[in-house]
Symmetry: C2
Subunit: 239 residues, 2 copies
DNA sequence: ACCTGAACACCGTTCAAGT
DNA sequence: ACCTGAACACCGTTCAAGT
């Protein structure tokens, strides 16, 4: 009985506990609230104690990425490449949606933690198993880019329209004059008084739309036996 | 002669000068070196003087984005939609490459400055002029996402291999065991002793590859009269 | 009325002093 | 030998004192 009642919460710190606390803190208060001092306080230790388990804040962030990437489902056995890739990326998307700060942190990393390399290697293995050439696999991974994590940097969120109908009408009038196409697109299909501006698009639909345009394109290139010695996809002339 | 020799550099500060100095500082020393204090010193003023021209640092960053987006070429007249969009995005890419910090700052913006809305509106106008439905224009803009700025978040840069041939061979052996597909792809086409790992891919080729896969896909959907009431691109069954 | 130095409330990280 | 409080060199921003 080493953990007796006389020392109730004297659980020794370890890297795992530091990382999980950091993830929980970022989940709860946002990534901008994650400071070494803040995290230490949350763990009931002095800030310097953290430096026993992570060399610095950058390494802390690396570790947090590892935790999130670890939540991505393993590849489904037996699926064809297209379904396998699609499923894996959409699983990554779910993991990233559970931790809204994660995409930002992933994009700020300058080197890949091992678990990230494993994930990328696994995706590439799926393409190769599907018959993709090494060449096409290479460019296809680049084309997916950060989309392999299930997110794409969206264009800027448009601000919420004012609640007052008159003010809203005035705002739309002004915007429509300056940005006619944005307003046209944003208000399409919303003719019953509300508008898509501010109310947000269906992010999941948009993500899958882009993913499927890419996957369909990859499939076509693969079938055509594309290779990079020829030109880029769109520039090949007929015959 | 208001600007006489007796007061040589007493040029009054204005927003324009603040923004240009901030861009120059970020270009020269990196975005992490851009602080209000640093920028003030560079301009020979006290930090508080900056707050006369920008409300806070966020607004300073907004202004810097405006400067960079202003460098993007206007649309070429007379080109078909595909060439026009392609050219515009590749021009944006050149602007962003001149300011390596810009993509990071653009992605961190929470709202779009007017010049950004104008650029997006202009792209959407090009799709519309090319006959795209409002519906397809909407989803196509989402699919491009941050690619409209000419960049995509690349996957993590792989570290430079060690110079010592023996150490390099050992490293490749270890990596190949853990990440066989990464190594396969990274070393393809480099059989003359060097490797693509660390030496970097052709970013411009990769960018245009992905862009063209998307543009080709958009063209195909447009010709098919795609609309979002049907399913996503890849999920439509034959017939 | 205008400007600005000092101060406030933070940061990540170092380091020497204390146990 | 180990731990940690104080300190260092920064931040963005506030505010009151000085001109």
């Amino acid at each position: 009985m080493t953990e007796s009642a006389t020392a109730p919460r004297r659980v020794p710190l370890d890297r795992e506990r530091v990382l999980r606390a950091a993830v929980a803190l970022a989940d709860g208060l946002g990534i901008e609230a994650l400071s070494m001092r803040n995290l230490a306080e949350r763990l009931g230790v002095v800030p310097m104690a953290l430096y026993k388990h992570v060399a610095n804040k950058e390494e802390l962030l690396d570790g947090m990425v590892e935790v999130i990437v670890g939540e991505i489902d393993p590849p489904a056995p037996g699926a064809d490449w297209k379904r396998a890739i699609r499923q894996r990326i959409l699983s990554a998307r779910q993991a990233l949606l559970r931790h809204r700060w994660a995409s930002q942190v992933i994009e700020s990393r300058t080197h890949a933690p091992p678990v990230v390399l494993e994930y990328m290697d696994s995706l590439m293995g799926t393409f190769r198993a599907g018959g993709f050439s090494v060449d096409l696999t290479h460019h296809v991974m680049h084309a997916l880019g950060s989309r392999i994590w299930g997110f794409t940097q969206e264009v800027f969120p448009t601000p919420l329209p004012p609640a007052d109908p008159e003010a809203r009408a005035a705002m739309f009038g002004q915007l429509a004059a300056r940005y006619p196409h944005i307003i046209e697109v944003a208000t399409a299909g919303y003719h019953d008084g509300q508008s898509a501006v501010g109310s947000g698009c269906d992010d999941q639909f948009e993500f899958e739309f882009a993913l499927d345009v890419l996957l369909d394109g990859f499939e076509r290139l693969h079938r055509q036996g594309w290779n990079s010695a020829e030109r880029r996809p769109g520039t090949r002339t007929a015959g």
